[in-house]
Symmetry: C2
Subunit: 346 residues, 2 copies
């Protein structure tokens, strides 16, 4: 028998709150037999929402009351200080207390990160968490980090990101020695800044499968498993990619609705266009890990629909099954030597 | 009668040298009646290349011999020091000496930048040149800078970039007060770094039409004329966008060649797909300005074909007609006060 996986769901989070998270939870339960979920939030609202569905298996889904909600644009420090009974905080507390093995939230990224760090602490030897996600590439997908947790990073942090990315890809995709590249610019005059040069030197002797620099286009076009960069550059690259994909989609819609002939062509081309849409569908990539924490927290996009949020639940399940934090700690010790592993938990 | 525009062409530059630049030169001459071109490079090679074409109007195209070529991966400092008779150097010298009003090259970016700075010097009040180019956006296009000349920038430089971008868009597109945005990240926890916050403060009181921050997707989706960032982030964003566009093109090709039905659909959809391709065609955006120099130098992509290189020639002609360096200097004086304008030319 497969061991159960228990997740806490910040059910009040995101732009749509329980109207999305409850549907997503039920969808994920139908897809993953070993899954059990604890919905965290306003008990009356969540009970009513569940009651609206038929055939809810109450042995696999329960509600934990939380009286507050962290707003999407609330200051992280205020949320952390003042909302100790928020659905976000309680969901993460459940991980800390061992009732859940991971938490999933579509809430305010900054507040979620601050709360997760405060409650779960960092793995020994990791200075800062990083946001990591799979994104589509010509070879299937690539994992990229940091996508926005750290606006400025030193070389040591970039090395830690490389370790975390390698451990996740190894754990979740079974690739023994994932290839790792540093995101850099290719202008002849100024090949990168001092931080990136130092990180390249450290990666070359780290024992990781470091393959060198990639430029922005290489994220999507090169055969690489993990792309490492600071959170400012990573967030810009991620959103730039989203922007170009949306622009091209818009251009295609304009061109295919231009006249009766292009509309007829679009009807015929629909299967191919739908297949293209599916390959690029950001919902299938929803669910970013907060890597480096002493616990698993998965961040869904705030605007996620039920399909997208359920994908974030799948990401959490995969990380739980492979005990990703433990694997990160082990790879970190193997890569950097035993010293950081001896550092006490803060 | 329209005043002639005289350009020097680094005819040996780029991945394809004279095999592309000569065709591009003749194409541009056929499109722009007032254009005159000086092809700079190996006289024998260029004369033979021109002789292979019929009906070359020798009153509008001439050859200036240069005995050396700067290689695509040559060190900028070595090129500057050792190749004083390179086609690149001679083409820029012609601008300095007033024989040409602008130079166009597909050569090594670093060497071109170093040579242009050394020969032409900076405009008073500008610390460093920036690479600026139009890129496609949902509203037509947007100008972005810096695309790779400066890996690290301070707030004052970002302000200067905003001035340069505004002056170029004003001059070339006739927009009276172009909107300017700073590229930033949207994570709630860390909205930008100290440099960007300081630049935002300076822009808000600069008198430029500053509209605030845009995120990576906003480059392509928001209604903005000028997007300002440092050269590291700008280069990553530019190439990330190129990578996503190439990936989507590849995915479309795969989906439309999957079976006989999708192939038939592709044939029907060809007019719409071609129109899409044309809107995204990077050749129509080829030609980046080195803004901030006391003269006009346009950089073509190294891999440009004749159509793309001719587009870079068009960019140069537009900048010459509007005397872009003079407009940048004037807007800089108006924005920053007269102090920098009093700084002597270096």
């Amino acid at each position: 028998m497969v061991a159960p996986v228990v997740l806490s769901i910040d059910a009040m989070s995101g732009d749509h709150g329980h109207t999305v998270t409850v549907d997503a939870a039920l969808l994920a339960l139908s897809e993953i037999p070993e899954l059990k979920l604890i919905l965290v939030g306003d008990e009356a609202i969540l009970a009513a929402s569940l009651a609206a569905h038929k055939h809810v298996d109450v042995s696999r889904i329960s509600i934990r009351h939380a009286s507050e909600i962290v707003e999407m644009h609330e200051s992280p420090s205020k949320a952390l200080r003042n909302k100790k009974d928020s659905s976000m905080r309680v969901a993460i507390n459940l991980v800390k207390e061992g009732e859940a093995q991971a938490a999933v939230s579509a809430g305010n990224t900054g507040a979620l990160m601050a709360t997760a760090r405060f409650v779960l602490k960092m793995l020994p030897g990791i200075e800062r968490p990083a946001i990591v996600s799979a994104i589509p590439s010509i070879n299937g997908h690539v994992h990229m980090l940091d996508l926005g947790a750290n606006a400025e990073c030193d070389a040591q942090q970039l090395l830690q990101f490389a370790v975390m990315g390698s451990a996740i890809v190894n754990a979740v995709h079974g690739i023994e020695r994932p290839t790792v590249a540093l995101l850099n610019i290719g202008e002849e005059e100024i090949k990168g800044n001092e931080v990136i040069k130092a990180a390249a030197g450290m990666l070359a002797t780290s024992g990781l499968n470091y393959i060198g620099f990639v430029e922005g286009d290489g994220i999507f076009l090169k055969d690489v498993d993990v792309v490492v960069c600071d959170g400012f550059v990573g967030n810009i690259a991620l959103k730039t990619g989203e922007g170009v994909a949306k622009m091209m989609k818009q251009f295609m819609q304009e061109e295919f609705t231009r006249n009766i002939f292009t509309k007829a062509a679009a009807a015929m081309a629909m299967p191919a266009l739908k297949a293209l849409g599916k390959r690029m569908d950001p919902r299938h990539y929803n669910g970013a890990s907060f890597a480096g924490l002493n616990g698993i927290v998965i961040k869904s996009h705030g605007s996620a629909d039920a399909l997208a949020f359920s994908n974030a639940i799948h990401v959490a399940v995969r990380e739980v099954k492979q005990d990703v934090p433990k694997r990160i700690a082990a790879l970190l010790a193997a890569t950097l030597g035993s010293e950081p592993a001896l550092e006490p938990l803060k």
